[in-house]
């Protein structure tokens, strides 16, 4: 790695316990239904499940056949059906159809639904409505957390973002606080909890309620916790990622810590699935690197590998024997990985070094800096007109709106009209969604909202005023990106050359053009041990910041190491770039960050979640 870590960084806690726990719980549930059974698994639970319990484990517990939930009639001869699903009404309805179809055909089977991570009352209501409440047994599999890597834990709840921020549906808050509680009881007690955002605050409060009356363990692994809502910082996930891991995610889509590389990358005729985590030595060294360094690193690595291979020349038999038995396997492995990553890099290069990408990046950087906005707008216009990419265009529009604090009414209309002509009228709904989230809005003439708020605030008491403010802020979330950027110095001065080989600050993850707001906030708060001195910033963010004690009993002074292990929980998803930035920050300051997220996200996932073209 180009930069060495501070020596006194604390060790990461062992998260494999979470997997073992989930596995044992699942097995217990499966054993509640003795005998052979067919298991239906919700599509997006397939990969997480694979991490917890593989097929042979399931077979051991008398799972006969495995099916994916595909909302089709079931063809199965087993007389016991078991469904492993998320608590979604759609899926429950499908199960109702299955059961009712069996009933009509006079087939008698037993059904068991295992909800993960919890069951919602609405699911029961659907079962009741469809008249099969008595025919099925239900259970909950409290599988909250999936460790993707030694420092990344995911709740694997992509719908958290849309449900919580767009639909205002707080059903997942409990899930998040339960997850936090699980971490607290295994690795806590936490001494301090910071956070920003409405949802974070709710999670924090709900968690405090749960943990009341809990016994604390004496072993402390995680000292501090930072909770952050995705809607605090939309800019960062909307930017193109240029750090290797983020790029791989943008282009190949990492799913549950695993990427499928197509034939064009593997230079063979079949796809290969590769696990991307710290076990992969090659990947571990390049994942946090700016892409421009990756090739150099890989070729260096190739040369080293060659030298290692070359060692066998001039070896006597004994040495050769040890070489073969000890080193060769490792080298072979490394060789395989290296060739894969080189293939992937080549493929990325092909896609990204083209003119378009450079211009795209240039536009993004101008937007972040606030220069040459008109050029940017015409670039976006062309982007839309040429139908380069439905998602990308939206992403640029959003980035433009956020950084510019809304679009001018004229631009707003014309860009929207162009977009609708390119991609169809159903995107009217998409635009409504984006507007609701404050991602793509019209500029308000003057600061009318604030003025009105304060006027109203004087008239009514504090509590209602708070509610009103919420209402207003959801009505049109104002972005004050420019002011924030000045306050927190998010955009470094561009006149200096930025050496991406030796990163100065977290901006390196965006080629030195922008320090991610989310990570900057975390840095500042940890530095100040609270929000004091950041009042202006929090006002601009219009967010609900808080800092409070974790456990009453937790000893602040004790276990210095644990106090430098910090859990960052992103509610609504985080990007690989942000994780890279936090890793960098950790190395600089001697912290260890553990990222817990509702799901790994990136610009496309974020935008796709807001599309309304599903029929």
């Amino acid at each position: 790695m180009a930069h060495s870590a501070r020596k006194d960084s604390p060790e990461l806690p062992d998260f494999s316990m979470l997997k073992r726990l989930a596995k044992d719980q699942l097995i217990y549930l499966l054993e509640q239904l003795p005998g052979k059974k067919d298991l239906f698994i919700e599509a997006d639970l397939m990969s997480p499940l694979d991490r917890i319990a593989n097929v042979s484990t399931l077979r051991q517990h008398e799972v006969d056949k495995l099916y994916k939930v595909e909302y089709k009639p079931v063809i199965s001869n087993s007389d016991q059906l078991c469904f492993l699903i998320r608590p979604r009404i759609q899926t429950v309805k499908w199960i109702c159809d299955v059961v009712n179809a069996d009933k009509a055909a006079g087939k008698a089977r037993s059904y068991k639904i295992i909800f993960t991570s919890q069951k919602f009352y609405a699911c029961d209501a659907v079962l009741e409505e469809q008249g099969i409440f008595g025919d099925v047994t239900t259970d909950e599999w409290p599988f909250y957390l999936l460790p993707l890597d030694e420092d990344i834990i995911s709740l694997e709840l992509p719908e958290f973002f849309r449900d919580n921020f767009l639909a205002g549906d707080q059903r997942w808050v409990r899930t998040a606080s339960n997850a936090l509680h699980l971490l607290h009881s295994l690795y806590g007690p936490f001494s301090k909890v910071y956070g920003i955002g409405r949802c974070s605050k709710m999670v924090y409060e709900s968690w405090r309620q749960i943990k009341e009356g809990e016994q604390k363990t004496d072993k402390v692994d995680i000292g501090k916790v930072f909770l952050i809502d995705r809607d605090v910082d939309y800019v960062t996930p909307l930017c193109s990622q240029v750090v290797y891991e983020g790029l791989v995610d943008d282009i190949f889509r990492i799913k549950c810590g695993c990427v499928e590389l197509g034939p064009d990358v593997t230079s063979s005729d079949k796809s290969i699935k590769v696990m991307l985590n710290s076990q992969d030595k090659v990947f571990n060294e390049i994942r946090n690197e700016h892409f421009s360094n990756v090739f150099g690193f890989l070729s260096q690595k190739a040369r080293n590998l060659q030298t290692a291979y070359d060692k066998r020349r001039g070896m006597d038999i004994q040495q050769m024997k040890t070489f073969v038995s000890e080193e060769l396997k490792g080298l072979k492995q490394e060789h395989r990985l290296l060739s894969l990553h080189i293939g992937a890099s080549e493929s990325i290069m092909k896609k990204k070094t083209k003119q378009d990408f450079q211009e795209l990046l240039k536009t993004e950087h101008s937007l972040l800096e606030g220069f040459e906005i008109r050029e940017c707008i015409s670039f976006i216009e062309e982007h839309i007109n040429r139908q380069i990419s439905m998602i990308e265009s939206l992403r640029l529009l959003c980035l433009l709106s956020i950084t510019e604090n809304g679009l001018l009414p004229k631009d707003y209309r014309s860009l929207k009209a162009q977009y609708l002509k390119s991609y169809g009228i159903n995107h009217l709904l998409t635009f409504a969604n984006l507007r609701q989230l404050g991602l793509l809005v019209e500029q308000q003439p003057g600061e009318t909202l604030t003025a009105m708020e304060s006027k109203v605030g004087k008239l009514v008491n504090d509590k209602t005023a708070g509610k009103l403010t919420d209402a207003f802020s959801s009505l049109a979330k104002k972005s004050n990106f420019r002011a924030l950027s000045r306050k927190l110095n998010l955009v470094p001065k561009s006149d200096e050359e930025y050496d991406l080989r030796v990163p100065r600050d977290m901006a390196y993850i965006f080629s030195g053009a922008y320090v991610p707001l989310s990570c900057k906030l975390i840095e500042q708060v940890l530095e100040r041990d609270g929000w004091t001195g950041l009042e202006e910033v929090t006002r601009l963010l219009n967010a609900h910041e808080f800092a409070g004690p974790g456990s009453n009993g937790a000893d602040l002074a004790a276990k210095n190491d644990a106090q430098r292990t910090i859990l960052v929980m992103f509610l609504g998803g985080c990007t690989y770039s942000e994780i890279s930035a936090l890793r960098f920050l950790g190395r600089e300051r001697g912290f260890k960050f553990i990222v817990v997220t509702t799901a790994i996200t990136n610009s496309s996932r974020l935008i796709e979640a807001l599309l309304d073209n599903h029929v």
Binding site: G168, D169, S422, A432
Partner: protein, 834 residues
């Protein structure tokens, strides 16, 4: 202390003693004559029904309930039918078995709780006799009816009536009968006079007690011991047979020389009994008959009631109450005259020690020589537990404490525990409390149950004192008592809501484990809704408040509390409750004030009830959302006409929402759809549903240039976009001539570099070159490079003296273009010079 043995009566090897428990506080005029009496074991309450057979409505019999010490708890006139039998359940509830088979249940304070019937047929045949019995399954009731049939239930809380088979030859009620619980089965043992039968679920079997000679006559009375292990039979010739209740083994047979049937007959045993015996009572005589053929006879003046206990018999008469029991072995050892047991010596030693006599040492030595000091202490401690008189307890415990001083490694646990327990026992034995428990009973009953009973009798302060004294964790102790206290408090009708709420809050505070919502529920049950709401406010967990609030029909409050709790399931519960309770309008209005609930319900409607969603928006006059709803609905609609009309609704709504842009866009969409349909009808183009751009693209691909042009004009597609589309489409189809014509139609809004690039993309350098000349000067180098015309590129770059461009050309040069490279380098040098 010779007097201790004064009331000891020898019976075989053992002694029996009568200990006075209470002078009864009650004042009963005619004694216990002519009354139905039920006294519960374990020092339970006493119920008394005077003259149960008096049936004139003018003077109803009086039902009275007393504590074991005779303290009146309640009394009320009996208004229901004639009562055959009274009995207490294990949880201190009074069962009154009526002649018609109805069993009424009252609590300790005489309030009616519920009733059940022993079967329909009983109404006709009437209950002749009934018995209340206790088994591991709870409290049971057995009856025999006028038609000589037995019916029983083993647990009145889980009522299952069992009608037992018929007994051959039985007319009317049997001579005597008992209920036995054996091998997890409940049976009835009955005597028809000469014959003895066992009745179980399925059969009636004649049985013969072993060793009972036929000459002894017929069995007229029987009794079974507290544990159902022993049975005693009394024959009309005065013989008393005792044996095991499974009737396989006989213990003894004694001739009592009494031929009248005893009024009461009860087993008097204790665990590790030396001399199990039976107590029989006649009008003026109480007789204890042991296995050793010996008897003790006590004359009695008053009618008595015998209550069988685990370790003795309580004898209650109108003035006092005594405990008749076998003297425990350890007490015998200590107090027996001239006993040399270590405990006795230790007691003596201590007595001498208090007199400051050196004899104390002698006694101690004697014990120590036998190394029995530990045993002596243990004996004293144990004996103290068995004694009822607190002075005796004290002297025994002091002796034990004294002896303990001479022992080095003796665990004090038992001593300490006994002291504590005795203190508790003495407190509850007080006449004002009236729970005459022995230590053995207390151990059997457990502390938890004792506290429950105290709570049930509303001795809250005492119960709390005991909890604190014995250091029971709050959760099981004080908090539990407080909870009951509060539940009782809220039912007091004479206090105002405010006062009660304040009192409860002050006492309960935030004791762990006391749920305000439970207390509130009690308040609501007793009809004090306002108080319940006040109490709920103290509940810290808002989630706990919701179910009760719903029950009290405070749905609005429930909803806001549910939202506060952050538990969406709870919110949803309330929402679905409201939905079924309220009319639609009110329901929507309620939701409107609760954004969280509203969005939750919307989410649900989106998946389940689309139409409700529409109504919801309608109600709110949310035209924007309503329009959006129509848009998404239009996509679900297959038929074009309907679709158009839905879109028209969307337009209307958008207009109402003053969203002109969206209205316009929607109108455009409608226009487009019509246009597409026309073309589809005419040419079968398959355009329906495409976007404007895609439509133009499709039209161009089909070669329908005119229509594409029309669309371009109608929909005011930007020139740039149209040019791009046409350019791409023509190149795609390789219609190069057409392309050239197009390029000349007017000045290209997208420039000509695009033409070059698109041509090159389709590998047509020849065509591409045509457009190079038209490219603007700034892009010319790029254009030349694009068609790989290095010379041309170099030419332009040099002409323009642009360093960057020259550099770009240089990069593209290969080694073979040495001439060109030199030229460029020269030009570059020249340019920089200037």
């Amino acid at each position: 202390m010779a007097f201790i043995t004064a009331n000891w009566n020898p019976l075989g090897e053992a002694f029996f003693r009568k200990t006075e428990l209470y002078d009864m506080c009650w004042n009963i005029r005619d004694g216990l004559r002519d009354s139905l009496v039920a006294a519960a074991p374990y020092g339970g309450p006493i119920a008394l029904l005077r003259e149960p057979h008096r049936r004139s409505p003018s003077s109803r019999p009086q039902l009275e309930i007393y504590s074991a010490s005779g303290l009146a708890i309640t009394s009320f006139p009996w208004k229901s039918g004639p009562v055959v039998q009274l009995g207490w359940t294990v949880s201190d509830e009074l069962l009154c078995v009526q002649e018609d088979g109805t069993v009424l249940i009252y609590d300790l304070f005489g309030s009616f709780k519920r009733h059940f019937s022993m079967g329909q047929e009983v109404v006709q045949s009437q209950v002749l006799e009934a018995k209340v019995f206790h088994s591991p399954y709870g409290t049971g009731v057995a009856i025999v009816t006028g038609s000589s049939r037995f019916t029983l239930t083993t647990n009145i809380d889980d009522l299952k009536l069992r009608r037992l088979p018929e007994v051959p030859g039985l007319q009317g009620k049997p001579c005597c009968w008992v209920v036995l619980t054996q091998d997890r089965q409940t049976k009835v043992l009955l005597s028809t006079g000469p014959e003895l039968y066992i009745l179980d679920n399925t059969s009636c079997t004649a049985v013969y007690p072993p060793g009972l000679s036929p000459q002894t006559g017929s069995i007229v009375h029987m009794t079974v011991s507290f544990s159902y292990r022993y049975l005693a039979l009394f024959t009309d010739t005065g013989y008393l047979w005792t044996g095991f209740s499974h009737l396989q083994e006989k213990l003894s047979e004694v001739d009592t020389k009494k031929t009248t049937v005893p009024k009461h007959m009860v087993w008097c045993r204790r665990p590790q009994s030396q001399q199990p015996s039976v107590v029989l009572m006649w009008d003026r005589l109480l007789m204890v008959v042991g296995q050793c053929n010996d008897t003790i006879q006590f004359p009695i003046e008053d009618p008595c009631v015998l209550v069988g206990e685990l370790d003795g018999v309580r004898v209650i008469n109108s003035t006092n109450q005594e405990l008749l029991q076998e003297v425990p072995l350890v007490c015998q050892d200590i107090f027996k005259i001239a006993s040399m047991a270590p405990g006795a010596l230790l007691l003596e030693a201590h007595r001498e020690y208090e007199k400051s006599s050196q004899k104390a040492d002698e006694y101690l030595r004697e014990i120590k020589e036998q190394s029995m000091l530990g045993e002596a202490v243990r004996q004293c401690v144990e004996a103290a537990g068995h004694e009822y008189d607190s002075n005796t307890q004290k002297s025994l415990l002091r002796a034990a404490s004294f002896g303990k001083c001479f022992l080095t490694d003796f665990s004090p646990d038992q001593f300490v525990q006994t002291c504590r327990e005795l203190r508790v026992l003495n407190a509850v034995r007080e006449s004002s409390v009236g729970l005459p428990l022995t230590h053995t009973q207390f151990k059997q009953m457990t502390l938890q149950v004792l506290i429950d009973r105290l709570v049930y009798r509303q001795f809250y302060p005492l119960a709390m004192e005991i909890c604190r004294y014995l250091k029971i964790p709050d959760y099981q102790g004080v908090s539990r008592v407080l909870k009951h206290w509060a539940s009782c408090k809220v039912q007091q009708k004479d206090l105002s809501d405010e006062a009660i709420a304040r009192a409860v809050c002050m006492k309960v505070g935030d004791s762990p484990g006391v749920s305000y919502s439970d207390i509130a529920a009690k308040a609501y049950e007793s009809g004090r809704t306002e108080l319940a709401i006040k109490l709920l406010d103290f509940e810290a967990r808002s989630g706990e408040q919701v179910p009760l609030l719903l029950k009290m029909k405070r749905s609005q409050l429930a909803l806001s509390k549910a939202v506060e709790s952050g538990d969406t399931d709870l919110v949803y519960t309330v929402v679905s409750y409201l939905k079924s309770e309220m009319n639609r309008g009110d329901f929507f209005m309620t939701l409107r004030n609760q954004p969280v609930a509203l969005s939750l319900y919307r989410q649900f409607c989106k998946l389940q009830e689309q139409d409700t969603l529409k109504d919801l928006y309608n109600q709110d006059d949310d035209h924007q959302e309503l329009a959006n709803y129509y848009i998404s609905a239009s996509y679900r609609e297959k038929r074009l006409d309907t679709r158009l009309s839905i879109l028209q609704s969307a337009v209307d709504e958008y207009n109402k929402a003053k969203n002109e842009f969206a209205a316009k866009a929607t109108e455009d969409e409608m226009r487009l759809l019509r246009f597409q349909r026309k073309l589809d009808d005419e040419k079968g183009a398959g355009l329906l549903g495409l976007s404007v751009q895609a439509t133009i693209e499709a039209l161009l691909a089909l070669g329908l240039h005119k229509q594409a042009e029309q669309l371009y004009k109608d929909f005011r597609v930007p020139d740039k976009r149209y040019w791009w589309l046409k350019l791409k489409s023509l190149a795609e189809k390789e219609e190069w001539e057409e392309l050239e014509k197009f390029s000349k139609s007017k000045k290209s809004p997208i420039g000509y570099l695009a033409f070059v690039e698109v041509c090159m993309k389709h590998n047509n350098r020849y065509e591409a070159k045509k457009y190079v000349s038209k490219v603007t000067p700034e892009q010319k180098v790029k254009a030349h490079l694009a068609v790989s015309d290095l010379e041309g590129a170099a030419e332009v770059a040099i002409e323009r003296r642009n360093d960057a461009e020259m550099g770009a050309v240089l990069v593209s040069c290969t080694a073979s273009d040495q001439l060109l490279i030199d030229r460029l380098n020269r030009a570059r040098a020249a340019a920089t010079k200037k």
